[in-house]
């Protein structure tokens, strides 16, 4: 289980690095899709079918948007001339990342390891099916215990839809 997750996660990291460095925007987007669908498999392994379903649908729609954008404009990544400065920046950022990783490793040491999680606030949610009547506990959390959050989430999508329509107006002023 842990090994499987680690392998998928390793592939996701490789795909992410490829997505960032690809010369062709379309292949970068496909690589990003690889990361997204890898995430779906991870969710299924982690016993989270709800978010796996949402992620697979949302990822597909995001990919459609992004491919539409790229096909409509240009596929070419800007011509990156590799010079000394680039190598220096890359080297420095790798060094910085290593330091951060080391620090992160140190501070998470006392926390619960993978699979050793215990519940505090969620205890009531996990036993709450009798009170909400929904046997899908996630639906109970979403629309009963924390319905206020979920309403906010719907409002975020509403704001984005209105914002997209706003930005696509052809002229701003009369």
């Amino acid at each position: 289980m842990e090994l499987m997750l680690a392998v998928i996660l390793g592939f996701m990291i490789i795909a992410a690095i490829y997505a960032i460095h690809a010369k062709d925007l379309l292949s970068a987007i496909i690589a990003q899709g690889f990361v997204g669908y890898g995430l779906v498999i991870c969710f299924l392994l982690l016993r989270a079918p709800d978010i796996a379903l949402v992620q697979i649908v949302v990822e597909t729609i995001t990919l459609i948007f992004m491919v539409a954008v790229v096909l409509d404009s240009t596929r070419k990544e800007l011509d990156v001339q590799v010079d000394r400065k680039q190598y220096r920046i890359a080297g420095l950022s790798v060094l910085f990342m290593l330091v951060l990783l080391f620090y992160f490793n140190r501070i998470i040491a006392p926390l619960d390891g993978f699979g050793e999680h215990s519940m505090r606030m969620a205890e009531a949610y996990a036993e709450g099916a009798g009170q909400t009547g929904a046997i899908n506990l996630v639906a109970g959390v979403l629309w009963d215990f924390r319905g206020y959050d979920t309403l906010g989430e719907a409002v975020v999508l509403f704001a984005a839809a209105i914002g997209v329509v706003t930005i696509f107006r052809l002229t701003g002023k009369n």
């Binding site: 949402v54 009547g133 109970g140 979403l142 629309w143 999508l157 839809a161 329509v165 052809l170």
Partner: protein, 145 residues
């Protein structure tokens, strides 16, 4: 946007109906099985997006269609907000009050107000994603004129 070949068109028209029905199923069974308003709504929107992609934007005769879906979205959100604040209005002064009986867990008619929220949010998400997509398509047509 232009459509694709006849075979693709016919098959997507069939597939869209299937996806649409599956989306409805996901929405209405959100409190019993994985999924719910968000996943189902996105599926329903996906069915429409597929239809537009395969058949071209002429097929649905886009003329300020995004206004319609945007209004649909607002209406669904108003319904959800009224349902959420019905506890406030009815006098119990509780926002997000699950005032309907919980029912027998496992049956379709259970979970109090949760299925209603799922339905409203399903409509809302479908309308929102469709609005975003239609805005993109309409913008492309406007700019190419």
């Amino acid at each position: 946007m232009w459509g694709m070949s006849v075979i693709v068109k016919k098959i997507t028209q069939l597939m869209c109906a299937l996806i649409f029905v599956y989306g409805i199923y996901i929405i209405t069974h959100g409190h019993l099985t994985p999924g719910g308003g968000f996943a189902g709504g996105a599926l329903v929107a996906g069915a429409f997006i597929l239809l537009i992609l395969a058949n071209g934007s002429e097929y649905v005769r886009l003329k300020k269609q995004e206004e319609g879906s945007s209004m649909m979205e607002s209406a669904a959100l108003i319904a959800a907000l009224v349902l959420a604040s019905s506890g406030l209005i009815a006098g119990s002064m509780v926002f997000f009050n699950n005032f309907l009986p919980a029912g027998i867990p496992g049956q379709l008619a259970s979970g109090g107000v949760i299925p209603f929220f799922n339905i409203f949010i399903g409509i809302k998400v479908a309308a929102a994603l469709l609005t975003i997509f239609l805005a993109l398509v309409i913008y492309r047509e406007d700019i190419s004129k």
